[in-house]
Structure formats: C-alpha cells, structure tokens
C-alpha cells in the first residue's frame, strides 16, 4: 500500500479546503470499501482526511415530516432508527439486506453512496479497466459479466453500482446535501450518479473534493407501505444479483402512487419511471406489475452471461408489488 498522510479536520469547511488543495487526497469515513481498495492498490491516496469525527452523525425529524440523516450515521444505527422502521421500511430493509453486522456498524450513509463498483475487473489491477485507468479498455465487456449491467452501459464500462441503500433512496426521492469548495448545494439522489458513457471514471456529478454532509428524505406517507427485495447468490452477506425498492399507494385497488427503483442492473441506482407510469392510475394486478417491469426493461441490452437479470428483475417487481398490495411484505 502506498504510504499516506493522515489528517483529522476540525470542521466541514476545513475538510473541503484540504481536499481542494491536495489533488491526491481522499476522504475516509467508515473505510469498509476504501481500506480494501487501498490494500488492492486500486485506490492510492497520499492523504486521508478522516471525516468520522465531524458532527454529521445525527438523525433529525424535519418540521415538514421528512428526515435529515447525517452523512456519518452508521448503516446499522439508521436501520434501527424508530422513525425509519415505522415510516420508511424500504430504507430499513435495504440497509439490513446489505453487508454484515460488523460492516454496517462502521459503514456510513455518505460513504455508502460513494462506494465503488464490485466489478471484479475493476478490483484487479492486472486487468484492463477504463474506470480504474481511463483508456486501458474494459476486460469485463467480453469477460465474465454475469454480475454486471443490463441497462445504460457503454462499450467503455459495464459496471453496476453495488449499493442497496442508494436504490431505496432513489425510490424515496431523497436529496443529498453536499459541500464543495464553492459552498453548499442540494443534489437529488437520482442525479448523483452518472451513466458510464465515455467517462466511467467519473461516477458522480459531484466536483472533486465535494463532501456529502447529509441525506434528506421528503415526507412520504405512502412509504409506510414499502419494501426492499434483494436476490443474492447466498442467503446473506452478498451483493445483489437483482434488487427492487418499492413503495405502493392504493386507492381501493387502483394505484394512486408508486415508486420503483432497481439495483444491480446499471452503473447507477435505477429509478424505474417508465414502470411507474404504466402502473399509476390503473387497477393493480400481478399482470400489470409484470407489464410495467417489461416496459422499464424494454431497452435493456443483456451481456453474454447476464440475460437472467431481465426475468429476475421482472419477477421481483411482481413479487414486491403484489406483497405490498396484499399487505404482506416479506
């Protein structure tokens, strides 16, 4: 591992200023991904700016009914928060389906959103990867690509975003509070992550050195009826091969409102607006849910080994929405 300097900033402004002045510095939060990538030689910062002691660890209820989650709130504490469990079960379920107890105890809200893909070629410095080394090629495009993208990929990159939390936040229309050298701004979660396109090394719309300070959830009473369904290769402690975050609001049997987002299908958490449009205003049925998923996946381009992700994503869409409609989410 490359030697690095270590700095603990006094406040957010200092953290952002240090990153602006140090081109090879990186923020360190829970470290569950960054420390591993440093061991693998994939990330090689020469300075770590430790943000874990900044006062960003509060969960506060907002006057309008929403929730403000500090960026360093650990995943386990957020999943256990009584308001999250009662009002946003999709968020609690997504967090609890991710990683292991030990990792959730240190992994943070902000860090989770900025974690890197688990594409095995990205994590192997002996392989070509445009994300790790722009212009080097993509060994995954025609390699073992079972776990990789079916939507919105480019010839330069077929990686998926690994976060479960981000998928739930996409469904909930969360807003990310960001501090950059120029000041603070809000970024809708749906606009935080980029498509790979020609520049897969640029994963978010944030300026270099930007620090996520909080995530805001809008009030969404319908989210009390919500769930997160995740399919893995083993029962626990594995990344998704498919996942869906779903919120369903019925008026009788008619879909008054619905929020759907998919994980493990694209370079970013995939908000399924087309599927939502198919569902809204129509009497709910499992057949309607299947048609909605098909509408969303119409432009999917499966790779050689991951065609199964289309029927899988369709099936979990039907299951999640049907369970919500019947009042029996698992």
């Amino acid at each position: 591992m490359r030697p690095f300097r270590y700095h603990r900033p006094a406040d957010v402004a200092e953290a952002v200023a240090v990153l602006a002045a140090e081109p090879q510095a990186a923020y360190l939060a829970g470290g569950t991904n960054l420390v591993d990538l440093m061991k693998l030689g994939v990330q090689r910062p020469d300075l770590l700016v430790d943000v874990t002691r900044l006062p960003l660890d509060a969960v506060a209820e907002l006057p309008d009914g929403g929730l403000r989650i500090g960026a360093t709130v650990p995943n386990s504490d957020l999943a256990a928060h009584p308001v999250v469990r009662r009002d946003y079960p999709v968020l609690a379920r997504a967090l609890l389906a991710a990683a292991s107890g030990q990792l959730r105890n240190v992994a943070t809200t902000g860090g989770n959103l900025l974690q890197r893909t688990r594409c095995v070629y990205f994590q192997d410095t002996g392989k070509a990867c445009n994300k790790r080394e722009p212009g080097s090629g993509c060994a995954a495009r025609h390699g073992q690509n079972r776990d990789l993208a079916v939507l919105d990929w480019s010839e330069q990159c077929v990686a998926t975003h690994p976060s479960d939390l981000a998928v739930a936040l996409a469904a909930l229309d969360a807003v990310v509070e960001v501090h950059e050298a120029g000041g603070a701004r809000d970024v809708p979660l749906a606009a935080l992550h980029r498509s790979p396109g020609e520049h897969p090394e640029r994963e978010t719309t944030l300026a270099r050195g930007a620090l996520i300070t909080a995530v805001r959830l809008p009030a969404l009473p319908a989210a009390r009826r919500s769930t997160y369904l995740k399919v893995r290769d083993r029962a626990s402690f594995a990344f998704a091969v498919g996942s869906v975050a779903a919120v369903l609001d019925l008026d009788g049997d008619v879909v008054r409102d619905v929020r759907l987002a998919y994980g493990a299908v694209a370079h970013r958490p995939w908000r399924a607006y087309r599927a939502e449009d198919e569902l809204r205003g129509r009497p709910f049925s499992p057949e309607l849910a299947a048609r909605a998923a098909d509408a969303e996946l119409a432009e999917a381009r499966p790779l050689r080994h991951n065609g199964f992700k289309l029927p899988l994503t369709r099936a979990i869409t039907v299951r999640a929405l049907t369970e919500l409609a019947e009042g029996t989410p698992s």
Binding site: R5, P82, A99
Partner: protein
C-alpha cells in the same frame, strides 16, 4: 510484548502518527505507520494474537473485535483513526483464568473444530447479543416495529459476517441461543 523500536516500524514521520487508545482496559500509546490496520497493531505490536487474519478483506469475520462496544472487522480499520477510543478483543472477554458465559457455552456445545474463526465468532456474538438487547432488527425480522425474538433464523442472519470453514455453524447457533437465554 514490548513496543518495538520506532526505527523498525516507521520510515517516514509524515506517514506515521502517535496514537493513544485503550485495549482490554489498558491504555496504549504507539507510533504507527498510518497504513497499519487495527488487526496488525493488535497482533504485531501488542502481542494480542486472538484476533485472526483470515481474508484481510472484511469478508470472513475472523478479525472481529469490539470498538467502543460495537463489533467491527479490525482488518478494515486503520489504527491511526482510533485516538481516544476503546478496543475489546477476545483476550478481554473474561479474566485470564475464567470464561465468559458465551465462551463457556462455546465449550459446552463444541462450537468449533479447528478454532481459527472462534475469537471472531465470540466477539461477533458478544456484539450481536448487545444489538439484540438494544432492539435492533435484522433482515429476517418480520415486524420492524417491535423487538425481534432471537430465533435460530435470527442468530444465523446476524452471524452471517463470520465464516467457519469447518462448518461448526449448528453448534455455534446452539451456543449463542443458550447464552441469550441464560444471561
């Protein structure tokens, strides 16, 4: 174990730090290369070899220790971040000549074969039982709004971060179940 001369472990002042923290109730102060993980600090600098290096990538759980009372994977924590914090390892779960109820239950239920993962299993179970006592849910908890009952399915899910290549899992579940019921 004696702290090694600094010249052996640090080559560059800019890339090393003086760190002060507590391990098993004892105050420790060390100068460490910033790259040193908590796991390597425990094993290589403090002679506490209970925590094991299995994968060194956060995937196997054999390095699990308690940090300020919470179970964490010590291979993914840089020790330089620990100033003022408190670490509990398997060596600190009970006095030198005694077993904690959890350790006694592991012995009684034969909850290991080779024993390599056991320190991590013990620290993880200790942290997990505290999480249950705080009412934290898990992925297999049906009703998120009420405290979970610690069924075998709950124990298995909550211990999923600890692998056992000998597959002593049924006995580990039994030991944890008994500890939860009797303490």
């Amino acid at each position: 174990m004696q702290d090694r001369p600094e010249s052996e472990t640090t080559t560059d002042e800019r890339h090393s730090s003086r760190v002060s923290f507590e391990v098993n109730g004892t105050h420790r102060e060390l100068t460490l290369d910033n790259r040193t993980t908590l796991l390597d600090t425990l094993r290589e600098r403090l002679g506490l070899i209970g925590a094991k290096k299995g994968c060194d990538h956060g995937q196997c759980g054999s390095c699990t220790v308690l940090l300020d009372g919470r179970r964490v994977k010590s291979c993914l924590v840089f020790a330089v971040t620990l100033d003022g914090r408190s670490v509990l390892t398997v060596e600190g779960l009970a006095g030198p000549d005694e077993l904690s109820p959890l350790q006694a239950a592991f012995v009684a239920h034969d909850a290991f074969q080779c024993g390599y993962c056991t320190p991590g299993q013990l620290c993880s179970a200790r942290g997990m039982l505290d999480e249950v006592a705080r009412g934290w849910p898990s992925a297999v908890t049906d009703d998120l709004t009420t405290p979970a009952e610690l069924t075998d399915a709950e124990i298995r899910e909550r211990m999923a971060g600890n692998l056992c290549r000998c597959a002593a899992y049924p006995h580990i579940v039994a030991a944890v179940r008994e500890t939860a019921a009797t303490t």
